[in-house]
């Protein structure tokens, strides 16, 4: 097993100089505060002993301290902020690059909306880790150390009394904090449930409305909000008990220390001025001290999210080699030999597929759904790697190809046409980023979609709706064909639409397909047998194997699976 790389940590190390700079500033700032306090203490002592307070001695020092305080606080915050922004910026960049190269199976298995939400919210958590718990923890710890050293230098026995009475506070605060963080977790889940209901109601609005489910959903929502309020009641009960306990406990060492101080002062070991300085520093120290366990809780929450992103970063990339050209002296464009594939361990999808496609040929796959037709396309595009056997593209094994370069050869017109929420022109232009406006229009004309686009209110500048909702299946298909034309790749992979479209649209698509197939090597997945009667070779897939192959007439004469399918199709569609 390859060792997992810790990307976040490595970026944290890369920019650690900023963090170190920030920490140094915070240390110096704390020193300045301590020094300021001891100055006040000694002034008070002077006063008490009846001496004239010499402002000309104290004042310049104190002004210098104040000026240093302004500068150090500014610099410290600036460096810590820069650190956070740089690390998270680099991290975000890395994640997006990763998503572009991550193995396809990962994206297929996860719901895309979930991935987007995950990345958005987990990223925010990663950022807030750098912004809050991390610098807070560092500054709290350094503050505690510096204040402790200062108190120790005033009086060692005082430090010891303090150190003995604090761990108890630390421990109790820690346990309470854990309990609360569990309840905060359930709070998140409950409020997510509420958003889920709202989202579900919105996405299914048509069904919801036609079935009159408004009251049902309102009831679901009431249940969910009630659960939230109940949880909140429990949570605040507990967390406020924690606050009460914590504050009372916080007093305990305060009182012990103060009493001990008073004893020391009574014995004359400790001056009253030092006592005042001590009390102030003690207050600040307690504040930092109590903050530490909370920092850990926050950090723990953040780190869970960072780990989830690290998981994405540690998912393997898709296989990609260095080959960018392929063999030029062969006319065999694609050859599959004993190709086997399975998505999961226990089910075989492709079981020893053999075939050869030569330049300019037009071949087709037919077969029942689940027979492995779409899987072959997934393999041809290099979305998945074969389990065994060989897939050669232009005479080279697919694993040796650079994934991008291999895909440059292939134009895919799939069923699953995704339209980006952008203009029609941009959506067609997606086929080739360098295409000019004229080329885009030309491609649309060939794809028989130009006339339709011109009827849209803003023509090519019309925004296509969410997931292209404004366009019909046939129109989306033709946009996809226009993209493929723009891409101008030598091999066309065509997954025919399963959904029937009306006769008029069918003619348009047929014409568009003829245009895009012209001069290209074509591989088609056919759902309606009518379109592939001119194919050079038809492969019938069943159970992951090629069970028949030949031309339309050959297969009909053979009277096998294909002939049966053809007959069934024609009896069920009498109108054709």
């Amino acid at each position: 097993m390859k060792k997992r790389k810790r990307y976040f940590l490595s970026y944290m190390m890369q920019y650690s100089y900023l963090l170190i700079g920030g920490v140094v500033c915070v240390c110096l700032l704390n020193l300045a505060i301590v020094r300021g306090n001891s100055v006040i203490g000694s002034v008070i002592d002077e006063m008490l002993s009846g001496n004239e307070v010499r402002l000309d001695v104290f004042l310049p020092e104190f002004i210098a301290i104040t000026a240093a305080g302004f500068a150090l606080a500014f610099l410290g915050q600036l460096l810590a902020g820069l650190y956070s922004v740089k690390v998270s910026g680099t991290y975000r960049k890395r994640v997006v690059q990763k998503l572009y190269h991550i193995e396809y199976a990962y994206l297929k298995n996860e719901n895309t909306a979930t991935i987007i939400n995950k990345i958005n919210s987990d990223m925010a958590e990663a950022e807030s880790f750098l912004q809050y718990p991390l610098p807070m923890l560092i500054s709290d710890i350094t503050a505690v150390i510096i204040y402790a050293v200062y108190i120790g230098s005033m009086n060692l026995s005082l430090l010891i009394v303090m150190l003995v009475s604090y761990p108890a506070v630390f421990w109790i605060a820690g346990t309470l904090v854990k309990k609360i963080s569990v309840l905060s977790g359930t709070y998140r889940a409950k409020s997510d449930a509420i958003t889920g209901i709202a989202q579900d109601a919105l996405s299914g609005i048509l069904v919801l409305r036609s079935f009159g489910l408004e009251d049902y959903f309102q009831g679901q929502m009431q249940k969910a909000t009630k659960a939230l309020v109940d949880n909140e009641e429990k949570r605040t009960r507990l967390s406020n008990t924690a606050i009460v306990v914590r504050n009372m406990i916080q007093w305990l060492p305060n009182i012990i220390c103060a009493v001990y101080c008073v004893v020391l002062v009574g014995r004359g070991v400790f001056s009253l001025g030092s006592l005042l300085a001590f009390i102030v520093v003690l207050g600040k120290m307690v504040q930092s001290f109590v903050g530490i366990p909370w920092c850990f809780v926050d950090a723990a929450g953040n780190i869970v999210c960072i780990k989830r992103i690290e998981e994405i970063l540690n998912t393997p990339d898709e296989i990609s080699g260095d080959e960018t050209e392929g063999k030029t002296d062969t006319d065999v464009i694609i050859s599959l030999k004993d190709l086997c594939f399975a998505y999961t361990q226990d089910s075989t999808v492709l079981d020893g597929v053999n075939l050869t496609v030569r330049a300019g040929e037009n071949i087709a796959f037919v077969g029942e759904s689940g027979g492995g037709k779409s899987t072959i396309f997934n393999l041809l595009c290099g979305f998945y790697a074969p389990k065994s056997g060989s897939y050669k593209l232009y005479g080279m094994e697919i694993s040796e190809w650079n994934a991008q370069a291999a895909r440059e050869r292939l134009a895919l017109v799939s069923q699953n046409v995704f339209l980006f929420p952008a203009t029609v022109a941009e959506n067609v232009g997606y086929g080739n980023p360098d295409a000019t406006q004229e080329e885009i229009v030309e491609a649309c004309k060939k794809a028989q979609i130009h006339d339709f686009i011109m009827t849209l209110p803003q023509g090519y500048q019309t925004i296509t709706g969410e997931r292209g909702a404004l366009l019909s299946g046939g129109q989306k298909q033709r946009i996809s064909i226009a993209r493929a034309i723009l891409k101008n790749a030598p091999v066309l992979l065509l997954d025919e639409p399963t959904s029937a479209v009306d006769v008029e649209t069918e003619d348009l698509i047929q014409k568009a397909l003829e245009n895009v197939m012209e001069g290209r090597t074509c591989i088609t997945i056919a759902h309606r047998l009518s379109t592939i009667q001119n194919a050079d070779c038809i492969y019938v897939l069943s159970g992951g194997k090629i069970v028949e192959k030949g031309t339309h007439t050959e297969l009909l004469d053979a009277g096998g699976v294909y002939a049966k399918m053809y007959r069934m199709k024609h009896s069920s569609e009498p109108a054709n």
């Binding site: 895309t112 709202a198 006769v503």
Partner: protein, 553 residues
């Protein structure tokens, strides 16, 4: 000046949402702030008595005083706890109330609204604006009120201890607050521009993931990554400006802390020497002042935030004023008596979506008898889908009469109307939950047996019981764990369960493969004669089922 009034009104309006409970809510905030401040005062007193009594060496008096103060502190903390719980519960309750209001509206907008607005836009209202509005109740308002109240509470003993010193300290703090307030506006600008870039970046991410096939097959995918990286760089650059402001804030809070120490030192020396105040009072003021300035800082930080958050409340109020779907369909005339015998009759319908000027349906007529199975066909764009939307009462028409199941459309509310029609859409939508729950949405009081009976009629029962959890199988987001054919049969089962006199199928088989189509068509055959069936279709095999074909266009 006008803006200030509206901000104030907005705040009042936001609080009024709570109705009578707002009193409980506000009292809770006041009480919890006051008790928190009281605790601070007791802490300071502890300090004062230590310093004042210590030199006398009277241990018994010292301990007695300490105990009294600790008891006072304990009581104020318990009071705090009580009101804090009340406050939090009220805050979440009102959040729930608004959420229910927004959901109610979200479900009842005119149908055109959903077609014109990106669903992300409505959802962002729901999750983003509403979440932030909830924050007003849950934290923002308290964070502004509590420091303010605490400052007041601290001021009283401080003034009593030494009014001269206190006033000087307040003056220094005032300067600090002013500096923080100056910073608020530019900081808000930075965060607004950051959230703008962020939403762009999210869009790239969504393009990359949702269009993953396209992103990999075309070079443009690489460009999307590049744009993201560029925007990310801008994000980092803009963030730096925010960091500078943050650094200034931090500098001013820490620096003023020291500066106040200096002022305190000078004035304290002066006052004690002149005999205006005791050393103990000085110590008490000093600790009180620590908390006081802390609260002052909070006020400077949270007040601008509260104002910014009120903008989100404004968005929600605006949304809640959106027009709802009217109770009855507009533009309907009463039909002749003859039409009342039909299952469906549409007469002289003129219709257009408001964006187009030309009539999409011009004097459209259609009559369907009880128990008939009719297929509506025609080229795309001829208005088939429009007819089905009108049958569901989703739009108002310009002119004409519609009768459903022997009742005049103008005599029915849309709710009554929709009860008569069971609808199966082209893309079946399954809600989050189990298969059982999804089918039961057809009729909420149906028994398990009735649900299964409907599933049998829809040819869905067999595949459902073969699933690992049978009817309790969770369908996943939008039914993603089932195939298209399976989802469609569940949708049909749902429609059957409704027991409406009319079933309307909008291209229900067009996205299915042959096998699934066959199963769905078989199911339809079983239903014929039991109810009136209207199918929008163009597959010949589906059309073949119909008693009659209406060709449009």
């Amino acid at each position: 000046m006008k803006k200030k009034i509206s901000t104030w009104h907005l705040l009042v309006r936001t609080i009024r949402v709570m109705g009578k409970r707002s009193a409980l809510y506000l009292i809770s905030i006041v009480m919890l702030s006051a008790s928190l401040a009281m605790f601070g005062v007791f802490s300071a007193l502890l300090m004062k008595c230590g310093v004042d009594i210590a030199p006398t060496g009277d241990m018994r008096r010292l301990i007695g005083t300490i105990l009294a103060i600790v008891a006072g502190g304990g009581i104020s903390l318990l009071t705090y706890r009580f009101f804090c719980v009340r406050y939090n519960v009220e805050a979440k309750r009102v959040y729930g109330v608004i959420y229910e209001k927004v959901l109610d509206l979200e479900m009842k907008l005119p149908y055109a609204y959903y077609e014109k607005h990106h669903s992300g836009e409505i959802m962002s209202k729901v999750s983003f604006d509403l979440g932030r509005m909830g924050d007003i109740y849950g934290s923002r308002l308290r964070r502004t009120m509590t420091p303010f109240l605490q400052v007041v509470v601290f001021l009283v003993p401080m003034l009593v201890l030494s009014w001269q010193l206190t006033l000087c300290l307040v003056a220094v703090n005032g300067i600090m607050l002013a500096i923080d307030m100056l910073m608020a506006e530019p900081m808000r600008r930075v965060s607004r521009s950051l959230s703008g870039i962020n939403s762009q970046m999210t869009q790239r991410l969504s393009d990359l993931l949702q269009g993953m096939e396209q992103a990999r097959m075309y070079r443009t995918g690489e460009q999307t990554v590049q744009s993201y990286i560029k925007e990310n760089d801008t994000y980092v650059r803009k963030s730096r400006r925010g960091i500078v402001f943050n650094a200034i804030l931090s500098s001013s809070s820490n620096g003023f802390d020291l500066l106040c120490m200096l002022v305190f030192l000078l004035l304290g020396v002066f006052f004690v020497q002149k005999g205006y105040t005791t050393l103990g009072a000085l110590a008490a003021i000093y600790t009180l002042y620590g908390r006081f300035s802390g609260q002052f800082l909070e006020l400077g930080k949270y007040f601008p935030e509260l104002i910014a958050y009120l903008a989100y409340a404004q968005n929600i109020f605006d949304f809640l004023e959106e027009e709802r779907e009217p109770e009855r369909m507009g533009g309907l005339k009463a039909a002749d008596d003859g039409s009342l015998e039909m299952a469906v009759s549409m007469h002289g319908i003129d219709f257009t979506y408001d964006t187009q000027d030309e009539l999409l349906l011009n004097q459209f007529c259609m009559e369907i008898r009880q128990g008939e199975c009719v297929a509506i066909t025609g080229a795309s764009g001829c208005g088939k889908t429009t007819v089905s939307k009108l049958l569901l009462g989703l739009y108002s028409i310009q002119d004409g009469a519609i009768c459903i199941d022997g009742k005049n459309g103008s005599d029915m509310t849309k709710k009554e109307w929709r009860q008569k029609i069971a609808y199966v859409p082209q893309e079946p939508y399954l809600f989050y939950g189990s298969i059982m729950e999804n089918i039961r949405m057809g009729r909420l009081d149906a028994t398990d047996e009735e649900v299964m009976e409907a599933a049998r009629l829809a040819n869905a029962h067999d595949f459902i019981i073969n699933l690992e959890d049978g009817y309790d199988t969770e369908v996943g987001e939008r039914g993603s764990r089932l195939s298209g054919g399976q989802r469609q049969r569940i949708a049909i089962a749902r429609a059957i369960l409704k027991r409406a006199p009319i079933m309307l199928l909008d291209e229900a088989t067009s996205a299915l493969d042959n096998e699934s189509e066959q199963l769905v068509n078989d199911a339809m055959k079983k239903l014929q004669r039991q109810m009136t069936i209207i199918m929008i279709a163009h597959r010949p095999s589906t059309i073949a089922l119909a008693d009659r074909v209406v060709k449009m266009g």
